[in-house]
Symmetry: C3
């Protein structure tokens, strides 16, 4: 079975939002954002354009970045990294919920489940996902090793989710990651 992208296949714009006080001040090299970009490069076979941003752990700034990436930049998918723990400065899930039209609880449940197979502290991650207009926002943890494991778990459902909210038709390198789309009725 081959996925044939529709004729109109402009590159999908995908936002990568690093939420980190230290990375935003340049005191610390952002490793989460690049890990996500590497992942997309490895997995996606359809054309896409990454739109990367770094913001500190301030809820109004995270909300503003999410709104801009979804609304002005036209991203169909925004993947955040960082700010999902229980610490006082961790506010990425709250910012995501604040800009959401719809919450997608299944993403956080599944990511915690797969991370829990590795570390008991996976339950401390409060990561969630949400729809804003034509954009799916997915929170990932900050640690590069957890990023790949979480994306491997949820990415198979992402292209169909983007179909359902009217976005571009994403395809993957099927020897690396198989996505699921129900058969047309």
């Amino acid at each position: 079975m081959t996925d044939t992208p529709p004729a109109d296949s402009r590159p999908a714009r995908i936002g990568i939002l690093t939420v980190s006080d230290r990375a935003s001040r340049g005191e610390y090299e952002d490793r989460g954002g690049p890990a996500i970009i590497d992942y997309l490069g490895e997995v996606l076979s359809s054309a896409y354009e990454p739109v990367a941003r770094i913001v500190p752990d301030e809820q109004p700034l995270v909300e503003q970045a999410l709104r801009e990436l979804a609304d002005s930049e036209g991203c169909c998918l925004v993947i955040t990294t960082g700010g999902t723990g229980p610490s006082p400065r961790d506010i990425t899930p709250e910012a995501t919920e604040a800009v959401a039209d719809k919450l997608m609880p299944g993403f956080g449940e599944l990511m915690r489940k797969v991370s829990l197979e590795k570390v008991a502290t996976a339950i401390l991650s409060r990561q969630t996902a949400a729809i804003r207009g034509g954009c799916l926002i997915v929170n990932l943890p900050g640690q590069p090793r957890a990023i790949c494991e979480c994306l491997d778990a949820v990415f198979p459902a992402i292209p169909y989710c983007i179909d359902l909210i009217g976005g571009p038709y994403l395809t993957t390198n099927e020897d690396r990651l198989v996505v699921f789309r129900p058969k047309k009725k």
Copy 2:
């Protein structure tokens, strides 16, 4: 171990609410509602009366139907089908939360978990459950095949839940589905 229903066993009223633009306009044959009615007929051994409704994917209409089924029709259980995905018109979970006295997160978690064993896109389902007065509301997906698999997962807990909110004593055909009730203290 036999379940002995109390002497007062008027038929339990069970609402079946199909949420679908196309089915409500008659453009599409409702298959979700009938699948739920078939399931109840197969599983329940106590007397019950189905109260079926079809509404479009409009949040105020879904809320109104849920209120009427719970409050005026006296349903102890309302099972919805449809409207739980990420699409712009999918608003069944929001309507359910809007009329809820209490949210029951364990239902959605378990239904997504069992559906995920079949399809990666199960995490896109936002289905939930809630208590409104003496009524348990449970959201199911729209696809008939997913309805049976979700109900098989959560139905074993439903009769005891209805006991706890003061409803009628439901029993099942135990060779088909065993329900769980803790032993009396």
Copy 3:
């Protein structure tokens, strides 16, 4: 690998809040609170001081007790027992959310998952967890047997959570329960 507590190791204060109409009126012996105290005595190796309270299933009183234990009593951890079901008087999760700075959905998900291996009605438990200031609040069910099983599931993540919110350094008897802390960077 040995956990070395920091030099300043005042006993950690841990709140145990029994939420029960009958226990609060003395009509019923509280068994949940003592089960939690027994558990802590068995598991913790660092110094701690339990602060036990019993309140009826009244949301304002549960909220007030949670605020006092977190704010005035200086508890780094408050464990509640009771009031997490679907019954009209069960309001512990609502009270917990009302006083929360942050919700911790991973705790409830994992506790329902482990309880579900024992009883189908585990999905009826609405227990959650939350952060309020420097305090982690965790809801447990009322039944003593479920308390141990839920704490065994989530306790491995609790000491690190308390580290992250600025609390005392808890250690456990590692032959009874191993806690997880990521290696220092």
